[in-house]
């Protein structure tokens, strides 16, 4: 299992041809208290860099972009019911959606943990 990161502060956990996607702890700190999450529909085919989900704090709405292309296999309905999970467990329970990786070569442009740490330092 590999975890990769985007410069937009998303994480991807890669297991076979499935990627689980969420936002990083750094991102949730920047957003503040999350009060609303909108997730993509299961079965939707996302193109890389397309707006896939929305996360809103008291003050502002932010898009979550698809870091890679692929079909949405599963979404985390717990987030819709309890948006504050994003603040309490961004890297774990607060995953957003799972995607079937359409093109593994798209993973090449992503960062590993050390590179992401440097990016947010």
């Amino acid at each position: 299992m590999t975890t990769l990161y985007t410069s937009d502060h998303e994480w991807l956990r890669i297991e076979g041809d499935v990627a689980t996607i969420g936002i990083t702890d750094y991102a949730q700190q920047q957003l503040g208290d999350v009060v609303f999450v909108e997730l993509p529909k299961v079965g939707r085919t996302l193109k890389k860099a397309e707006a896939a989900a929305v996360v809103e704090s008291v003050k502002a709405a932010s898009d979550v972009y698809a870091p890679i292309s692929g079909e949405v296999l599963e979404v985390n309905d717990a987030l819709t019911a309890e948006p504050a999970l994003v603040n309490s467990d961004a890297a774990g329970k607060a995953w957003f959606f799972k995607i079937k990786i359409a093109d593994k070569s798209e993973l090449g442009g992503l960062m590993d943990e050390a590179a992401y740490k440097a990016h947010t330092a």
Binding site: G32, V35, F36
Partner: protein
Amino acid sequence: MLARDVSELKRTPLHALHLARGGKMVPFAGYEMPVQYPAGVLKEHLHTRASAGLFDVSHMGQLALRPKSGKVSDAALALERLVPQDILGIAPGRQRYAQFTNDEGGILDDLMVANFGDHLFLVVNAACKAEDEAHLRKHLSDACEIDSLADRALIALQGPKAETALAKFCADAASMKFMDAGPRRVGDFDCFVSRSGYTGEDGFEISVPAAQAEALVTRLLDDPGVLPIGLGARDSLRLEAGLCLYGHDIDTTTTPVEAALEWSVQKSRRKGGARPAGFPGADKILDQFEHGAPRRRVGLKAQGRAPVREGAPLFADSASGEAIGKVTSGGFGPSLNAPVAMGYLPISLAGIGTTVFAEVRGQRLPLAVAATPFVPNTYKR
């Protein structure tokens, strides 16, 4: 208003205190201001409603209008040339909400006016303060000396524990009622204190000499019930209280009648009153009092969980049709634990309970026209 560089931004006398307490500083109306502290917007909001919050609002403009005749009634009558409010009727030691209007009946700024016995004390919005001062000089210099009180800070102490927190330093605080205002000693400092604010909560605004602001705020924050609160929670608190934000819910294109601020225009300035009209835009505004306005500012409650934010177009119908209005303020109300918004609708759709639709990310979300304030106010009348 966005400065290109933080170094172009002005700082309030409490800047160092904000940094020391972990304030996240952002540009706002030409100032570097704390949008939140480490507690975060949600906790700051809820803390203000449950206990007490302290806000730095020193970016706002403070002005004194001193009558050249020595009679405060002359300053009051002069100011009535620029606002549709009864200023002459503000008793000494009292304060009133007002608006500067333009010739089209629009609102140039909204402000608080207090009668300090021998002069009037005004608090105006930060983004408008230079224009407001010029406006006052242009139109009132015959009757008044206009002093910009730029050497004073302004803080707001709001919430159910505000009275106890302030009374430790100002014995008179507890006996003040909503909209009482005047010079008071707070600790060792010569302040102007009013029992008013912008949160819907009981509370006070305190004008203090800039050099003493940090000492005063430090003492008030020694009370464990008082936390510093940023602009983020200030906005969500005032939105839940149904209070207008200038430049968003009211501006030069909205009249006081369209903005549902009729309550702020006293009978004495309306047709048949003691001093009717005589302010910019009176024809239009007084006509709207008689015949109604084509549109109205309303409260809007979302039926789902998605916040509907400023700028979202409003529709009468879930599918077709042209936009009939737009959201002017909107977000999440932490005390309601639900989205809240305000916006303008044609008068035919402005009745409480009417369903309209806001377009958010391509979807039309149902909203119900709702009474404001969304959260009952707790003013000490």
